[in-house]
């Protein structure tokens, strides 16, 4: 909400973080600071003469304004520590932190100079894109806790989560790919070089003499390509055939083998040159396609489980002193302290008087519920207001919420059921090629066996579906990048293909089509004077009830009034005496009146106001729907079946009906399990795109064909999903889907093109006359033209549609 405060005088800018300084008293000679936190950081840097920090960028700091003192005792717990660190030999320990706050070169610089603060740190290295910092430290000299405290004091509090790190494995895969492409590229270049004499001067006696040597070198060079670089295609083809799937790698493998052995035959038996250049080129091109396809969003994680949402540690009271322990160490019957906006890690009983728990995260219910002493609080709920004390009754893993994650939804291997277009095509493609090849063979075999054999192999060589294999990665790779540019990040390219096939779309309500923490609140009733407003503000500011907080935030004027008495009636409201007038804020009955009686149909939340028992009206709190929702829904509803799953009560039904036509597609009071089951049922007949946000959708997101999670800030946690959509780009949803369909069309077009190439080539091949030159020219040309075609067309269309 835009603040309409009038900037009276030019405020000083915090030298550290660049925020406006509320006052001018926090300063070091000419440098002003917004808060003592920032000042302290400056002093720290100054004392270690690291002020370069400020010369690299203007005000690079992270504001320390309204920051709470954190306690990192839990990091001493060895089990937890071992979960967090990468590697230790007892003396030296390596750990990698996620630090989403890092944003500029100063951050990089300061984080890589950590050793200047803490002599125990021997090495610290930033990966700016991943937003990670890997630190190596000596156990005797310092401790994990000290380092984290240091980072926190600098404003770079790491994000801890206990997701198991399978990153390293991925790394190795990448490396392998790079090895392979390096070798293939090297051999390709050199083999091509050595094939030139054959291409360019067939008669030249000199070259004929050297040809022999050249052939030998070529064979040596192409061996690693054949044995190593291309290996993964053989494996995948083999796996495919084992599962009775003829995937694209089958014809590729066929092509490579024929190319290689035919070449050997040509060289040794016939004594001419082979197709080794074509072979190496083929592998090289295919691998480049792979590299291009493997775009990953390093800062993002698409496989988060509930653990990443949970506090890694909880505060407990130990002999009256508050300390922190890792959440896993939490036992049943333990008393823990939950502060404002902290998550409840396990189902527990409330010990304190009263609590306001916001379950929106778990159930989607947007209104916080008030819990009274002795009542049950479920894991995943969030305390709003002052700190509370609770006693756990279940272990973390047994909690109401976490059961969702133990559902089978999460252990299903859904990668297996992808039927990509290319695999579909390749089935027939392979069949056709083999038929042509063998018929060519049969045709010639009677007349000339050698020719027949040549024709057979030539067909397989020329028809090698390089272009076919490249069109998908390049089209989808481009699309993925284009989506990324528009803040829609998909996990991998297959998601795009799936997206193009969906038939129905399921929305979660809270946080998905409504904007979280931005409910619109309006006053219904007769005019209230400024004086009355300030009285109301005075009163609500004394309550931590979420509704009070919202009203307070709505009234932007100061509250200089004196509050003589204050009383909070639980579940009813609050009242107080302000210059001898009784102000009541709360439920209709509480404000004791007859006016503004709500009819039952309207279930939106109301907070009534009365002064001296004279009712002034009520504040009505409605959800705010995302901008352009109407347009999107209208554009989508002809083509797709639309559903709404809401954890809320039916309060919003009427409003929703403005957007969504048929009422029986709106489901309310949906628990996470309900959502999961709903999707599972729908899945039987529909291809589903599920759009959700919080933990409560996690099951549904995984179960649906494409699960996209909306996020206000993409570096924040999102549940396991196929794609992360920045809330700002929600309005383009339709365009994204449309574009995914387009790119599928592009793929099909490029298939057709490559088929044409194949026809040309095969027309040579079946006559058994295929010179190495032709294959060496045709193959790269076809592949490259496909790459160009897909890249250009995707980008052009993207431009036309305003994506670029």
């Amino acid at each position: 909400m835009p603040s309409n405060t009038i900037a009276t005088t030019e405020k000083a800018i915090c030298y550290h973080c660049g925020l406006e300084c509320p006052t001018d008293d926090i300063r070091i000679n000419d440098k002003f600071f917004c808060c003592n936190g920032c000042k302290t950081v400056y002093e720290m840097l100054d004392s270690n003469d690291l002020c370069n920090y400020y010369s690299l960028e203007e005000t690079p700091g992270i504001s320390k304004l309204n920051e709470v003192k954190r306690n990192f005792d839990f990091l001493d717990d060895s089990d937890l520590k071992n979960k967090l660190i990468d590697f230790t030999d007892g003396k030296v320990t390596t750990i990698t932190f996620d630090i989403p706050q890092m944003h500029c070169s100063s951050c990089v610089w300061i984080l890589e100079n950590l050793y200047k603060f803490n002599k125990g740190i021997t090495f610290s290295e930033v990966d700016f894109l991943k937003k990670t910092l890997s630190v190596k430290f000596i156990e005797e000299k310092t401790s994990l806790q000290k380092i984290v405290e240091l980072l926190d004091s600098l404003g770079y509090l790491p994000n801890f989560n206990l997701d198991e790190k399978k990153e390293d494995k991925v790394k190795e895969e990448y490396k392998k790919l790079y090895y392979k492409i390096g070798i293939a590229g090297f051999s390709f270049g050199n083999v091509m070089l050595l094939s030139f004499p054959d291409y360019l001067s067939f008669t030249d006696k000199v070259t004929m003499e050297m040809q022999n040597t050249f052939n030998w070198i070529s064979i040596f060079l192409s061996l690693p390509v054949f044995l190593y670089s291309a290996s993964e295609y053989y494996i995948s083809a083999f796996k495919g055939l084992k599962n009775k799937i003829v995937n694209i790698d089958v014809p590729i493998t066929l092509g490579i083998f024929v190319l290689f052995f035919r070449s050997l035959y040509e060289i040794f038996v016939i004594g001419s040159v082979g197709y080794l250049d074509s072979m190496t080129a083929l592998v090289f091109l295919l691998l480049t396609g792979k590299i291009f396809q493997n775009k990953t969003y390093e800062a993002m994680n698409f496989e988060r489980n509930y653990k990443s949402y949970f506090p890694i540690a909880v505060s407990i009271m130990k002999e009256g002193k508050e300390t922190t322990i890792p959440v896993d160490k939490l036992e049943v019957g333990q008393r823990i302290v939950v502060k404002n906006n902290e998550l409840i890690p396990a189902d527990s009983i409330l010990i304190s008087e009263r609590a306001n728990i916001d379950y929106s995260f778990v159930t989607g219910e947007s209104q916080p519920v008030e819990v009274i002493n002795g009542e049950m609080i479920y894991a995943g709920g969030k305390e709003i207001g002052e700190a509370i004390e609770v006693e756990t009754v279940k272990e973390v893993s047994q909690s109401y919420l976490t059961q969702l994650w133990n559902s089978k939804a999460f252990d299903k291997k859904y990668e297996s059921k992808i039927d990509t277009t290319v695999n579909f095509v390749s089935k027939y493609f392979t069949a056709i090629i083999l038929t042509i090849a063998s018929s060519a063979f049969i045709y010639w075999v009677s007349t000339d066996l050698k020719l027949a054999f040549n024709a057979f192999t030539a067909v397989l060589i020329i028809a090698c579906p390089c272009a076919l294999a490249l069109s998908t990665p390049f089209t989808l790779g481009n699309t993925q990048r284009i989506f990324g540019r528009n803040k829609f990040y998909v996990k991998n390219t297959t998601v795009i293909e799936k997206l193009s096939n969906i038939t129905s779309i399921v929305f979660d309500k809270t946080g998905t089509i409504t904007e979280t923490a931005k409910a619109n609140i309006q006053f219904v009733g007769n005019e209230i004077s400024l004086e009355e407003q300030s009285m109301i503000k005075t009163l609500v500011r004394n309550s931590s009830h979420p509704l009070s907080l919202r009203i307070a935030s709505l009234l932007r004027l100061g509250s200089k009034q004196k509050l003589d008495s204050y009383e909070e009636v639980s579940g009813q409201g609050i009242q107080g005496l302000i210059n001898n007038r009784i102000v009541k804020i709360g439920s209709h009955s509480f404000t004791s009146g007859t006016l503004y009686k709500s009819n039952n149909s309207d279930t939106s939340t109301k907070v009534h106001i009365s002064i001296d028992d004279r009712q002034l009206g009520y504040y009505q709190i409605k959800n705010v729907y995302r901008g352009g929702l109407k347009k999107i829904v209208d554009s989508l509803k002809e083509k797709y079946k639309l559903f709404i799953l809401s954890g809320d009560n039916a309060g919003e039904k009427d409003n929703l009906l403005e957007f969504f036509p048929d009422a029986d597609h709106l489901y309310f009071n949906q628990s996470p399990h309900d959502k999961l089951n709903f999707i599972e049922n729908l899945n039987k007949k529909e291809k589903i795109l599920m759009i959700g946000d919080g933990l409560n959708d996690a099951g549904a997101l995984v179960k649906s064909d494409v699960g996209i999670s909306i996020s206000e800030d993409i570096n924040n946690f999102s549940p396991a999903c196929d794609g992360i959509l920045d809330a700002k780009s929600f309005k383009y949803l339709k365009d994204f889907i449309r574009f995914s369909i387009t790119s599928k069309k592009i793929i099909i077009t490029s298939f057709i093109i490559s088929f044409i190439y194949n026809l040309v080539g095969i027309s040579f091949a079946i006559q058994g006359t295929l010179s190495p030159v032709i294959s060496a020219i045709l193959m790269p040309i076809s592949s490259i033209s496909i790459v160009v075609f897909t890249t250009v067309s995707t980008n052009m269309i993207a431009k036309k549609r305003g994506f670029l």
């Binding site: 003469d49 690291l50 002020c51 370069n52 690299l56 500029c104 990089v108 894109l129 090895y179 090297f186």
Partner: protein
């Protein structure tokens, strides 16, 4: 063309040296991070405390 073969021989050997260098580079994680080094090289070891100097690095965040 004996010279031709000598040249090819040497060129090839050089190329092979570089291929091995490439494999090593990938292996030893030289290319693990393909962005940060470009920022890192801009930092001067010289500590200049005149913070008003306008040598502000503006890094392009167009990556990612």
């Amino acid at each position: 063309m004996s010279a031709m073969l000598i040249l090819i021989g040497f060129s090839l050997s050089v190329a092979i040296i570089f291929l091995i260098a490439f494999l090593w580079a990938v292996k030893s994680g030289q290319y693990k991070d393909r962005y940060t080094p470009s920022i890192r090289m801009l930092f001067d070891d010289k500590k200049n405390n005149d913070t008003n100097s306008n040598n502000h690095i503006n890094i392009n965040r167009s990556n990612q």
